[in-house]
Every structure is written in structure tokens, then in C-alpha cells.
């Protein structure tokens, strides 16, 4: 590690910037992210992000798997938004193979993906509270509600984390009988919990003092850095792939795209908080109109052979644009499989956003990006 010396100021006292290594084992790095801070006292003058500790070959491994086996790998890229990532992959395969999933399967996918967005944002609020020093109170508030969502997902898929439930052409099996009623219960309790979280965090004077005006991002910078999702919308740009390029059946639902004004950390909180309400709104509409019927497309073979070609499919995951690029050569395995992780692009802006702030602020700027390291490293 190189220690830089800076020219002395007017006084003869020579000062040295020290390098502080934050991570890969540090409570605030949300996994195995590492950043080397060069600090001048409390001020961060340089930041060097180091990634790759979580690399598992998650893009290469699926190239040796059957199209249906790949779904499990997408649960493991973004382990907080599994349904959103699965959704992206199965839509990509369907687009390439020309499969039309039945109505009911589309509704199931949208409902589960939107509830998953709420769960992911709840996780964000819990972890962010810990970053800003809340001693776990926000964490417990958020996890109480996330737990009810996980119970619901467990009833549907039999799993609490790696659901592996969507399939090219539909979903694995139908919803349980009382799903509509259970889902409404969960939504009601979660929205009450979100209100409480709102009261705990958003009006708090300390949160206001810490987060308002911290590292504002202009829309131009956001586009240049390739930000997406809440990070982009916090700057004031209402870009949401569910609206800009509607996939699945998102064009049938009424929802708003919350945007911020300054792109500071507080705006990112506000946008995520509002998105939870909008997701609940979409789920309620979908539950109203969900038809009965088959859940899997007719006439699919046991081994799915996809005609040669390539496709790029992108969805709005809780962290931003999650994309899957597939190249098929007509076999039962994807020839090339590439993932565009939203966390990776958002994280690449960390240095520009963080340098010049205090150490404590860098921690919450990192927290506000809401990274999932499995998605960054893949």
C-alpha cells in the first residue's frame, strides 16, 4: 500500500494522508466489498474500490446448463430481488424462443416481482439505518415486515431465498388457494410497517441533518455514469423500464414514478420509500384482475431447444436496470450468457460521489447505493 505525501502547507508541519482499508470484512460494506480510503484527518481525499471477492463465474456456469437449470443462477445474482432477476431471464428466453406465457402466469410473475421489490427496499432501509447509526432499530422494523413477505413467498414456492419458481413459458406450479386473501393481509401489514419506518427515519432531525444535500448528483452525471433505478430517479429523471419499455404486462397497471429533486442521499431514501407504495398499488390492481386458467404455455418439449439468435432483455429490478444477454446456437444450452447488474454500474459512481466527504458520509453514500455484492461480482 502506497502512502502518499502531500506538500506541506504554510506551516512546516508535514502531514501524511493515511490509507484506511474498509472491508472486505467491515460491518458497513454490505458483503465483501472493499474500499481503500485515503484520509486526511476525517476527510476522504481518495477512494479506491476493490471488487471481485464474490466472483463465482455466475455468467460462465450457465453456459453448461439446460435453459431451465439457469434460473437458479439468477436467484443467486441478486439475492434480494430473486423474482425480478428470474423474471428477466425467463422473459429473455421466451423472447428468443417465441413462447407466449399464459395470462395467469404473467400476473403471478408481476405480483411476485413487485412484492419482492418491496422486500428489497425494506432490506435497504434496515441496512441504511444501521449505516447511519441507528443501532438496529430500523433493521428490526424492516425485518418484521420482510418476514411476512418471506412467509408468503415460502407458501408459494416452498423456499425462503432461492425461489426458482418462474419457468420459460410460465411458472412452476399454481398459487395456493387462499393466495389473494393472504397477499392482501401481507400488503396491509407491510404498508402499515412502511408508515412506521417512515416515521422513524424520514422526519428524524439527525437523518435530515446527515442526508439532505449530501453528495448531490446531477441528471447529466447520472446518465454519464450509467446510473439506473432509484439512483437515477433521485436526480429527477423519471426513467423506469416498466414505463419506458414496458415488458410483461406492466402496461396494464396504473402507477407513478417517484422522482427526487437534488439527487442527494435523502432523495434516494424518499424515492425508495415511495416506490414501495407504488409497488403495493400495482400488486393490488393485479390481484383484482388476475384471471383463472393455465399457468404454463402449451406444447413445450421436455428439453427446451431455443432457435439460434441473440436477445437482450432488461427489467427494472429494485436496484435499477437488470439485463440478460443471451446468444443461442440452437442447442439446449445458451451459447453465451451475460448479465448486466445494476449494482455494478451504480457502484462504479462511488468514487465520484464520495471523494471530498467525511469518512462517516462515505459510509452512508455507499449505503445509499444499495449494492448487492453477488450482483456486482457475479
Amino acid at each position: 500500500m502506497v502512502i502518499e505525501t502531500r506538500p506541506p502547507h504554510e506551516s512546516d508541519l508535514e502531514t501524511i494522508d493515511i490509507n484506511v482499508n474498509v472491508g472486505p470484512q467491515h460491518p458497513a460494506t454490505h458483503g465483501v466489498f472493499r474500499m481503500v480510503l485515503t484520509v486526511d484527518g476525517e476527510l476522504v481525499v481518495d477512494l479506491d474500490p476493490v471488487i471481485g471477492y464474490m466472483h463465482r463465474g455466475n455468467e460462465k456456469l450457465p453456459e453448461n446448463c439446460d435453459y431451465r437449470q439457469v434460473i437458479g443462477y439468477h436467484d443467486r445474482t441478486d439475492y434480494l430481488a430473486q423474482f425480478n432477476t428470474e423474471h428477466c431471464y425467463v422473459e429473455a428466453v421466451e423472447k428468443l424462443a417465441g413462447i407466449k406465457p399464459p395470462e395467469r402466469a404473467e400476473y403471478i410473475r408481476v405480483i411476485l416481482a413487485e412484492i419482492n421489490r418491496i422486500a428489497s427496499h425494506l432490506m435497504f432501509f434496515g441496512a441504511f439505518g444501521t449505516d447511519i447509526g441507528l443501532f438496529g432499530t430500523s433493521f428490526m422494523y424492516a425485518f418484521r415486515d420482510r418476514e411476512t413477505i418471506q412467509d408468503l413467498f415460502e407458501e408459494v414456492t416452498g423456499e425462503r431465498m432461492m425461489y426458482n419458481y418462474f419457468r420459460p413459458g410460465g411458472v412452476a406450479w399454481d398459487l395456493p388457494d387462499n393466495f389473494r386473501q393472504r397477499c392482501m393481509q401481507v400488503l396491509d401489514s407491510v404498508e402499515r410497517g412502511v408508515e412506521q419506518l417512515d416515521g422513524l427515519m424520514m422526519e428524524n432531525e439527525v437523518v435530515l441533518a446527515r442526508c439532505r444535500g449530501l453528495s448531490p448528483v446531477t441528471p447529466e452525471d447520472a446518465i454519464n455514469w450509467g446510473l439506473s433505478g432509484p439512483m437515477l430517479r433521485a436526480t429527477g429523471l423519471a426513467h423506469d423500464i416498466r414505463r419506458a419499455e414496458p415488458y410483461s404486462i406492466y402496461d396494464r397497471f396504473q402507477f407513478d414514478i417517484p422522482t427526487g429533486k437534488r439527487g442527494d442521499v435523502y432523495d434516494k431514501l424518499v424515492v425508495r420509500l415511495e416506490e414501495m407504495h407504488q409497488s403495493a398499488r400495482i400488486v393490488r390492481q393485479a390481484l383484482e384482475t388476475m384471471p383463472e386458467g393455465p399457468i404454463m404455455a402449451e406444447g413445450l418439449k421436455r428439453v427446451l431447444r431455443v432457435p439460434a439468435g441473440e436477445v437482450y432483455m432488461r427489467v427494472e429490478s429494485p436496484r435499477g436496470e437488470y439485463g440478460v444477454y443471451l446468444v443461442s446456437q440452437g442447442s439446449d444450452k445458451p451459447w453465451r450468457h451475460k448479465v448486466r447488474g445494476a449494482s455494478f454500474s451504480n457502484l462504479s459512481a462511488l468514487r465520484a460521489m464520495a471523494v471530498g466527504n467525511f469518512v462517516s458520509d462515505v459510509i452512508i453514500i455507499l449505503g445509499s447505493i444499495d449494492i448487492v455484492l453477488c450482483e456486482v461480482d457475479r
Binding site: G133, L134, A209, L237, A238, R243, K261, Y266, V270
Partner: protein, 375 residues
């Protein structure tokens, strides 16, 4: 010393009282760690410890045994003596401060005439221990934490002492027993509400608890000066922290809440010792609960916000309280005039804090884009 424990010989008697304190303090700390985990657990909708003993009451004992039997690790590159002595430098002054604290009118180790002065002087020494721990550990988190601790604890010592000084002016004494005795009719919190608020906030900062846990910030410097310590040495820091919590709480209840005095003259003549101890326990417990409550509900301030809050708000208002007291004393006005004056100043301080916290802007409703996309 009207209450005789073993002998009329003052040396033997004092030694016996010291021994009682030395036994009582660690036990109190063990109980307090359990209480804190329970209180914060309830505030966070959890149960807290439930497994060891009924309602987890033996959790503190189990933790103590674990800490005592843990390996005492010292980093290879640490500055040996500075590293190993730092816990003592923190714990010894804290125990020395206990000597000057009266628990009831008759129950104390030594009734010092300059008790308040002694308390303030001795408890200020702990700062050295933080800097030693931060420097000696040869760890950058510890160094950052140590420097932060030095800045914070020295800064907040001043408003804390000023608030205490305001009370001493009013009571015309530095003897804690006399200060409590002077509050027989009205506790000082009524006359000195501004000093009380300053004392509570500066006390929170002296105990480095949320929102002032900047030196030990878990998510930034991972425990600050304590990051390299383990086992018995780490538990000494913990001991120091909790004894300090009790000391600040006792001091607050003595000089602001009237100590062992019962309100509204419940007992006509002399109050029994047990009732005095109970009253002290209630008042001290209120303070301790306040400190724990803050820990569970407030996030952390940034270091520059913390410093400017101290120097730009707490300190001028502490001086204001002293000026008000001085005017009242010099012109021999009745004490009752302090109630509106100090109350108004306290309201002003609270309003300025409220305004400063919102200086960067308040919450607004997010904008909505309902159709199309701009990209």
C-alpha cells in the same frame, strides 16, 4: 459519618466502604448490561436475552464468565505498555469518582467538601485512556476513533462543567450533600431547566452514546479505540462505560432532581434510609432509561455537526445560564425569577437546534411522472 458499618475508626470504616463499592460496582454493571439489552430489545420489538436463567437474568453473568476466560490478545505491532495500560487509565478514574458520590444523606464513602469539583476533575482523566488505546493499538480504525474521542470528550466536558457550575452557583456550595439539602422544597431542574438540558445532552456525549457515538461508531470505525482489545481488557472498557453511565445518572439526579429528597414532603420528619435509597434508584433509573432510549431511537451525527453543536449552541447557552444566575445572585432577586428566565432560554436553545437540523431543507413529497419517459 453517622452510619457506622464496622468500626468508629475512620480508616477501617472507609476501607470497608471502599470494599463494598468495589464489590457493588461490578455487580451493578453486570445487571445494567442485562437491563440495557432488555430495554433496547423491547424498543426494537424483540425479547432481548431469554435463554440464560429466567427471562435471561443470568445473561450478564454468562457474558462475564466468557469475557474473563477469553484469551487476552495483543497485536504484534502494538505499543505494549500503552496498549496494556489504557484500560486501567479509563477504569481507575471512574472508580475514583465513585468515592465522592453520596447515595443517601448518610450512605457515602467520603463526604468531600469539594465533592463536585473532585468528581469533575477526576472523571476528566479518562480521555487519556481513549487516546492511549487509539494510539497504542496500531490500528487505523482505533487511531481515528481515539482522535475522535479526544475531540468529542474534551469539547463536551466544557458545557457539562458549565451546567454543573450553574447549579453550584445556586446552591453556593460544591458539597454534593449540601447541594441536595438545598433542594428540599424545589429541585434544581425547575430553576435551571436550561442547565439541565445542557447537562443531559453533554452527558450523552460524554458517555459516547447515540447520537454521539462517533468515537466508537460501529459502522465507521468498528468500535474505535476498543477494536483490538479482547477478553478482560475489553470488558474493562465496558465496565468503565457502564460505571460512567451510572455516575452521570447519579450526578444528574443529585444536582438536578433533588437526590434522595422525596417530593411534596411525603415523610414529615426524617426519611428512612431505605426510602432514600429507593428515591435515588428511581431518579437514577430515569436517567439511565433516558440514555438507553436515545441509543435505540437516534442515528449518529457527523463529527463536524457534533462539534459545531457543542461550540456554537451548548457553550453559549451554558454561559447564558451562568449570566442569568449571576444577575439573580448579585441583585438578590428571588430564586423564582429563574424559572421563567431559564425556561425561556431553554426554549430558545431547543428552537435553534430544531431550526439548525432543518437548515438543509425539510422533507417534501417526491415529484411524480405519470406518463412516458424523458429518456
Amino acid at each position: 459519618m453517622s452510619l457506622v458499618l464496622i468500626s468508629h475508626n475512620p480508616w477501617l470504616e472507609s476501607l470497608a466502604r471502599l470494599a463494598i463499592i468495589a464489590l457493588l460496582v461490578p455487580v451493578t454493571v453486570i445487571i445494567l448490561t442485562w437491563v440495557e439489552r432488555k430495554v433496547i430489545g423491547r424498543l426494537q420489538m424483540r425479547l432481548g436475552p431469554m435463554r440464560v436463567g429466567p427471562y435471561g437474568t443470568l445473561q450478564g453473568v454468562a457474558d462475564t464468565i466468557k469475557l474473563l476466560t477469553k484469551e487476552d490478545v495483543r497485536p504484534q505491532t502494538a505499543d505494549r505498555w500503552v496498549f496494556e495500560l489504557a484500560p486501567f487509565v479509563i477504569v481507575v478514574p471512574v472508580f475514583m469518582a465513585v468515592v465522592a458520590i453520596p447515595f443517601t444523606a448518610d450512605l457515602f464513602i467520603k463526604n468531600l467538601t469539594l465533592g463536585l469539583f473532585y468528581f469533575v476533575a477526576v472523571s476528566g482523566l479518562s480521555i487519556v485512556g481513549f487516546v492511549m488505546a487509539g494510539w497504542g493499538s496500531d490500528n487505523k480504525y482505533a487511531l481515528l476513533g481515539g482522535v475522535r474521542a479526544a475531540a468529542q470528550l474534551i469539547s463536551y466536558e466544557i458545557p457539562l462543567v458549565m451546567a454543573i457550575l450553574a447549579v453550584a452557583m445556586l446552591s453556593q456550595s460544591l458539597n454534593l450533600a449540601v447541594i441536595v439539602g438545598a433542594q428540599e422544597d424545589t429541585p434544581n431542574i425547575a430553576y435551571q431547566s436550561l442547565a439541565f438540558i445542557i447537562f443531559a445532552i453533554a452527558g450523552l456525549a460524554e458517555l459516547y452514546r447515540q447520537p454521539f457515538d462517533i468515537p466508537v461508531a460501529e459502522s465507521e470505525v468498528v468500535g474505535g479505540p476498543f477494536v483490538e482489545y479482547s477478553g478482560i481488557r475489553w470488558s474493562m472498557f465496558q465496565l468503565g462505560e457502564f460505571v460512567n453511565l451510572v455516575l452521570i445518572s447519579i450526578l444528574g439526579s443529585l444536582i438536578f432532581l433533588g437526590g434522595w429528597q422525596w417530593p411534596w414532603s411525603v415523610f414529615d420528619a426524617s426519611v428512612p434510609v431505605a426510602a432514600q435509597v429507593a428515591m435515588m434508584a428511581v431518579k437514577t433509573g430515569t436517567f439511565i432509561f433516558f440514555f438507553m432510549w436515545m441509543r435505540a431511537s437516534l442515528p449518529r451525527l457527523r463529527i463536524d455537526q457534533m462539534m459545531s453543536f457543542c461550540w456554537q449552541l451548548l457553550l453559549p447557552f451554558a454561559f447564558l445560564q451562568i449570566i442569568i444566575n449571576g444577575l439573580v445572585l448579585v441583585y438578590d432577586w428571588p430564586n423564582e425569577i429563574l424559572i421563567p428566565l431559564s425556561g425561556a432560554a431553554a426554549a430558545g436553545a431547543v428552537y435553534l437546534t430544531y431550526r439548525a437540523a432543518r437548515a438543509t431543507g425539510v422533507r417534501y413529497q417526491p415529484g411524480y411522472q405519470t406518463v412516458g419517459s424523458v429518456l
